[in-house]
């Protein structure tokens, strides 16, 4: 009965964030330079553009048992590569529906826009995601299979 055991210990979700190099990663750097304190649950993978992240990779991360995955990119209209984040936005929409179809709570995946100047927003996004995923509980998808 793994459930009972896990309820007794505090649940600390593990969340992955793909950050684009130009906006979100820079925003995360700014959060650091500004010493904004935030939960320790999020790990960042740097990609050049949010549009580099294939949906399969998000699914793989969740299927592996990570509790949440975020893609953080430039605000619409601000993409360093003109239109990469538009692709991301369209993919995210389909991906959320696909996740619920295969039995993963779509809230475990989030797309957020963070500019290079938004250190405070980055920390707010980290807090929000941590709270949301904590409330959602551990990712059980692997156990179900």
């Amino acid at each position: 009965m793994p459930d009972i055991k896990e309820v007794q210990t505090e649940f600390k979700p593990k969340i992955l964030a793909f950050c684009c190099n130009w906006c979100a990663y820079a925003g995360a750097d700014l959060a650091g330079v500004s010493r904004f304190q935030m939960p320790t649950n999020v790990r960042v993978i740097r990609v050049m553009c949010s549009g580099r992240v294939p949906p399969e990779l998000v699914i793989r991360a969740l299927a592996n048992g990570l509790d949440g995955v975020m893609i953080l990119g430039c605000h619409p209209g601000d993409c360093h590569y003109s239109e990469g984040n538009y692709l991301t936005r369209r993919r995210a929409h389909v991906l959320k529906r696909l996740l619920s179809y295969i039995g993963i709570e779509p809230e475990r995946f989030q797309l957020r826009w963070v500019s290079a100047a938004e250190g405070a927003k980055f920390s707010a996004v980290v807090k929000e995601a941590t709270d949301k995923i904590t409330a959602l509980g551990p990712n059980r998808w692997v156990d179900k299979k």
Binding site: A28, G32, M48, R52, N64, L66, G77, Y81
Partner: protein, 566 residues
Amino acid sequence: MAAPRIGVFICHCGTNIGGIVDVPEVVDYAKKLPYVVHAEANLYTCSEEGISAIKEAIKEYDLNRVVVASCTPRTHQPLFRNACADAGLNPYLFEFVNIREHCSWIHMHDRREATEKAKELVKMGVAKARWLEAQEEFESGVYPAAMVIGGGVAGMSAALNLANQGFEVHLVEKEPELGGRLLKLNRIFTINKAPDELVDSMVKAVQGHSKIKLHMPAVVKAASGYIGNFDVSIDEDGQETSVKVGVIIVATGAQVLEPELYSYGKLDNVLTQLGLEQRLKDGKLGEFQNVVMINCVGARIPERPYCSRLCCMTAIKNAALMKEINPKAQVYVLHRDLMTYGVEFEEYYRKAREAGVRFIRYTLSNPPQVMGAKRVEAVKVYDELMDMEVELSCNLLVLATPLIPNADNEELSKMLKVPIGDGGFFLEAHVKLRPVEFAMDGIYVAGSCRWPADIKESIAQGYAAASEAAIPLRQGAVRVEAITATVDPKTCKGCGTCVLVCPFDAIELKESKIKGLEGKIVSEVNAALCKGCGLCAAACPNRAIQQRGFTDMQLLSMVNALSGKR
């Protein structure tokens, strides 16, 4: 390919990382990770000592991969890549792990969790490093011309500097006159002279320079390209022209806030400092006896929290001048704090006091009150030192308002793909280390469009931006980071999805000329056009196209490392 031999270097960054993350614990952890043959801690990995430690370890342990866990790749990646190259290791066999901005600095109160997170980040970096491959950089030419946007002191200084170095410069100014905000000033601090002398000599030098092509009045309409190769289209007097340049300097300045406070715009004896200067300049001020100036009007308030830096000096300048014009006048400056940094400015302030200008401090919670129905007749202010409210007779009220960003900053920022910061001013690549460059290569920033700057600072920044911009111009070529896309013609099915998603038209479907695949339609990447976004790699249904440095295998290995899978 030889078996991976990974070396890991964990930086203390003094106490920045070491004071929070248990660095020795992370080193011990790294030593046990797959393919790691060496791990060590450095006090500062970016110091000369740290760099030589990397080079020595590459030789001693025969490393073919290097991982540094320290600050951010956005500032320090070139340094560590060069260290690898110096030691004979291809610089693309280097991987960066950020445990400062993304860990120690944001988890200062949870040392245990910060250490655990640092370990995991290192694990992910090592997992990616195992799949790194050597890459060769591509060289791209630089068109030997520059564009300077803005013809104020900052822009003119930059343009002259580049032109004097022999480069062709396109100077774009939206007004029909060069000189920017300076044209409106009556006198300049601290030399108390009219700005004409300074502006005139600069304008003449710009206008007479054979290397400077003036576009005036003109605005930038669109821009595309990258360092060395920008195409900028400008609207010059209703006519659209396209200009090719290698670098761009943004020096568009700022504007003075027109406040909606203290009856400004309602009572006619209320002016801004700039309005006062204009009247003085035009000789239209007329008689006055008692002058009250209020500083920080619309500045350092919740919706506009920054200090504009120049307004205190402007108020002191004009207060002293009023006293000079009419020595019998009572001149009061109501301020919150006085920013008179440096020896020169403090001395200027002291002289104004000696000349009889009175300074009274007020607080934001208790601002001055304007009295009078048709004209300002008096100003009431609570004097903190005397601990009482005083009423100052006033027949001229002058408001010191901050510089605010130009309304078209946002439009320009979208066109050039350069960021603007919280307040609406342009945001440089690094607050300390790269003050006049944007994160976007080949675009630079100078003057008050970045932050309120006085004349001396604007000129210095103009020179600085010009000298940075001259580097690629002088070298004639820039090395393009080897993160471009590559196609495996064997697995490519020629569906063309990558061609559709590429924003740079860098991919074409072509008949393969590779032996054994002759005649097969496959994608081909033009490395000169590829900007390394990786959109194609994410879109390829057959995983036939990959982005160097961000391959599927590299990203997947990081995901797997984080989730404890192999």
